[in-house]
């Protein structure tokens, strides 16, 4: 129940944030900041090994946060 409230609060927070910022159509030439390498959504190339060790050392690996297979990490 406690976790459900936490998720609900997080979703409300996100909805509020995204609705305050209006979704306008951006032209290609206006995307210079969005196209900045450090604005890319997703994990960065240099984080590869960090994500592996976190998934080995923590109990909650999943498809969008590091590996789900492809190696044991059993040490």
């Amino acid at each position: 129940m406690k976790n459900f409230i936490k998720i609900k609060t997080a979703i409300c927070f996100l909805v509020t944030i995204t609705s305050v910022q209006s979704c306008t159509t951006i032209k290609e030439y206006e995307k210079n900041k969005l196209n900045d390498a450090e604005m890319a959504l997703g994990n960065r190339t240099i984080e590869k090994t960090e994500l592996s060790f976190q998934s080995y050392r923590e109990g909650s690996s999943g498809a969008n946060a590091g590996k789900v297979g492809g190696g044991c990490g059993c040490n």
Partner: protein, 389 residues
């Protein structure tokens, strides 16, 4: 180290060779090199809760990892962008806890190992329709563990190209060599057991405005097969020793959101939150924040912080606390209740005319992080990324 130097020299050679230039504005219909990434990392950890010795004992481990990732691009007759990504990684690790599979050995065969993991991915993007198809295969091999993976996916942009929905299905078919702790071996221990993982990942990304974009992530992961590790010991209250025993099924649901915001002209805020739950009773929350600061157009510094907390899996108990009445048992502290902090910084250099006189070496990034767990484990990691374009 030698391998890293040889790899870098080889890459310099490739780029000093006459490159095929595409001088007109038409996209190239020939297969051309897009970029090469070379990532090297050094990781070390220490702690006193090794699962190999039943939740007590050293967790000392070092890992040297090198990966090379080559991306090539080819436009077909319909002007669809085909991207081919080939990557191969080699890890060498030494592990004091694995050494204790044989309690009497100070330097047994399991003290160190190498892991090799090639992957091949393909994607085809139709820019007019806003659709992308993707597929890939992977393999990973180390002495006691082999994994074969495959994935297939589809992405579709919204009509205004401000949002994109992606669905991806991944499957991993793994084989675990059944190496028992030395005192529990009964004759021949060369058998293997299967472990399968199937994951469906859904994501939706949305551009909010010129400075702000978000992404929502949801996964469903089903694991079946031998999910314990054969050389993990568990000591019961009566001091008897057993092999770890965990259920042969696990269903996981991670949900996440990312938000990246360009603040003014110099600051970027990269935020990430993830909630996780599974049917072993483990729940976790992850929050991370990274703030790249653009010192100049070619230099940025990125401090970061990540907080993680998890509850214990219902099958976990520390050393000598399980009893013969338990159906499943583990003393692996990676499944215990803890929280962790990971912090550090990265520096990224991407000069206009390349680095060290090599025009195609257009980015160098170094990143260091320090990790601490509330159960006493500590680790450090330093990574280097060179990008040739």
């Amino acid at each position: 180290m030698k391998k890293i130097i040889i790899s870098v020299i080889a890459l310099f050679g490739i780029f000093n060779a006459k490159a095929q230039e595409n001088t007109n504005n038409e996209p190239s219909k020939k297969l051309s090199l897009d970029e090469i990434n070379l990532v090297s990392s050094y990781y070390k950890q220490d702690g006193n809760n090794s699962a190999v010795t039943g939740g007590v004992g050293t967790e000392k481990l070092t890992d040297i990892s090198n990966t090379i990732d080559v991306t090539m691009v080819k436009y077909d007759k319909k002007l669809r962008k085909n991207k081919f990504d080939f990557s191969v990684g080699i890890d060498h690790y030494t592990s004091a806890s694995s050494d204790m599979v044989d309690l009497k050995a100070n330097s047994s065969a399991s003290r160190s190992d190498n892991r090799i993991y090639p992957t091949l991915n393909w994607s085809r993007e139709n820019e007019n329709k806003g659709t992308t198809l993707m597929a890939g295969v992977s393999f990973s091999s180390e002495y006691d563990y082999q994994s074969y993976g495959a994935n297939i996916g589809f992405a579709k942009k919204t009509p205004d190209k401000m949002g994109e929905f992606t669905a991806k299905f991944q499957a991993y078919l793994d084989q675990v060599k059944l190496i028992a702790p030395i005192e529990l071996r009964t004759g021949d221990n060369n058998g293997t057991s299967g472990r399968n993982t199937f994951a469906l990942s859904l994501s939706y990304s949305q551009i909010i405005n010129q400075n702000f974009q978000v992404e929502f992530l949801a996964d469903g992961i089903q694991q079946t097969g031998y999910l314990s590790l054969p050389f993990h010991r568990v000591y019961f209250t009566d001091n008897s020793v057993h092999q770890e025993a965990l259920p042969d099924k696990r269903f996981k649901i991670p949900l996440g959101v990312r938000a990246n915001y360009f603040l003014g002209d110099k600051f970027i805020v990269r935020a990430y939150y993830r909630y996780y739950t599974d049917d072993w009773g483990l729940k976790s929350n992850t929050f991370s924040l990274e703030t790249p600061v653009k010192i100049s157009p070619f230099l940025s510094v990125s401090p970061f912080y990540r907080y993680y907390s998890q509850t214990a899996a219902k099958y976990f108990a520390p050393y000598q606390q399980h009893t013969a009445f338990d159906d499943f048992y583990t003393s692996n502290y990676d499944l215990s209740k803890f929280d962790s902090h990971f912090y550090g910084a990265g520096i990224r250099i991407s000069p206009k005319n390349g680095l060290f006189g090599v025009e195609r070496l257009n980015m160098l990034e170094i990143r260091y992080g320090h990790y601490t767990k509330s159960v006493g484990m500590k680790s450090d990691i330093i990574s280097l990324n060179l990008r040739f374009k």
